[in-house]
Symmetry: C2
Subunit: 92 residues, 2 copies
Amino acid sequence: MAEEASILVGQKPVMSYVLATVIQFNQGAKRVALKARGRAISKAVDAAEIVRTRFLQDQVAISAVKIGSEKVGEPGKERLVSTIEIILEKKV
Amino acid sequence: MAEEASILVGQKPVMSYVLATVIQFNQGAKRVALKARGRAISKAVDAAEIVRTRFLQDQVAISAVKIGSEKVGEPGKERLVSTIEIILEKKV
């Protein structure tokens, strides 16, 4: 089992990502990165907060939050979208 | 002029918050905090990224991003909403 897992937050309901995160930790991951772009950013924050405050309370912490921009779209029609990466880490 | 400014990101178009941030820096602020809750979180990230990559390129950096939860609503009907605070800081 990898110690690091990465979950891309998109169109599904927030609970899908909450459960995917909890499953990764239960399977032995020490760190789970929740990544999102554009409007899904709010959902990624919600998922991280639900895991931290409800499902794995006192067991995981947010160790880093990074924001950035990424180019999307075809050549000539590129535009920037915002990105977020939230690292949840198992407490020792 | 205060060296720190705080801007609450809400319902207005993203450019309102971009301009409010740029104005704060032009008036002498060294740090500007963009704060948002719930769905406005994505907009706060967009505003910070537009300031950083377009309006004040090479002049400001993101020095911290914090996420959390806050109780909202009347007593008995409280629920948790996610929050974000993004600190933009003038480069020296």
